[in-house]
């Protein structure tokens, strides 16, 4: 049974389903009393993590019978405890990419970065990021703290 303050969802790993899941999650967090700065933090971080699953974990020709994303979010006074799972490929090198924001040189318009922001945003916004592979599942757990 779902406890008050807990949001559980399972949805297909497609860009369109990610969009709808983010909209539903934001509404559920709002209904649960989460203030806007925390909800913004959640939407940005979860969006990047979901997109990464769609584009990388489930990328390629491997037959995956469960092409879904499973989330469990627990709203607490300190923020949101998050658990995100998928059945796709493991992270390359078994860990999370340690990626800083791409450098920006305003004087070099053709060289401006169009990508590489995703994991930097996640690392910036999420605390206690923990990844493990278990029974064919990627399990990503982290905490989104109440912004100051």
């Amino acid at each position: 049974m779902t406890q008050p303050g807990t949001i559980k969802e399972r949805f297909p790993a497609t860009a369109a389903d990610v969009r709808h899941a983010l909209i539903r999650t934001d509404a559920a967090l709002d209904a649960g009393g989460a203030a806007e700065p925390l909800r913004i933090r959640a939407e940005i971080a979860l969006g990047e993590i979901f997109n990464n699953i769609v584009e990388h974990a489930y990328d390629g020709a491997e037959a995956v019978h469960q092409r879904d994303i499973l989330i469990c979010l627990t709203l607490q006074a300190s923020g949101i405890d998050c658990d995100v799972r998928d059945w796709g490929k493991p992270m390359p090198d078994g860990g999370l990419p340690a990626r800083p924001y791409p450098p920006i040189d305003a004087g070099d318009v053709p060289g401006l970065p169009e990508g590489g922001f995703g994991w930097a945003l996640v690392r910036d916004l999420a605390d206690d990021l923990c990844y493990r592979r278990e029974d064919g599942q990627n399990i990503l757990q982290f905490h989104l703290s109440q912004p100051d």
């Binding site: 969009r19 920006i104 169009e114 990508g115 922001f117 945003l121 916004l125």
Partner: protein, 117 residues
């Protein structure tokens, strides 16, 4: 996705009439921006006041739009909602995009179009 272009003297206004610029519409955004601004040679202000959410794919598409204008033109941003502003701040985009509170402020920064009015 719904986008429009309106020339306003020395600057063109591209307005996004969608609530989200995310991975599912990023390519479409870039293509439409190109089509809308192709004939003009002015700077462009991108009015994002209707956009509630922008992910890193959407951000990449806005950067791509900036590149389409080339080094000789400027892409300015107006009307950032809280989530969009947060992404721009975290990724240090203020260093490449002049940012205005809203479209009126962006147009005002270009001064009166016609002194006789």
């Amino acid at each position: 996705m719904k986008m429009s272009f309106e020339p306003r003297g020395e600057i063109g206004v591209v307005r996004v009439e969608e609530a989200r610029i995310d991975a599912s519409v990023a390519i479409e955004f870039k293509d439409q921006f190109k089509d809308l601004t192709d004939g003009s040679e002015t700077n462009v202000v991108l009015d994002l006041s209707a956009v509630d959410f922008l992910d890193s794919s959407g951000l990449g598409a806005v950067v791509a739009a900036r590149k389409l204008l080339g080094a000789g033109r400027v892409l300015e941003l107006a009307g950032l909602t809280p989530a969009v502003g947060k992404v721009m701040t975290l990724t240090r985009m203020e260093s490449i995009f002049p940012i205005h509170a809203d479209l009126e402020a962006a147009l005002a920064a270009y001064g009166p179009r016609d002194p006789s009015v």
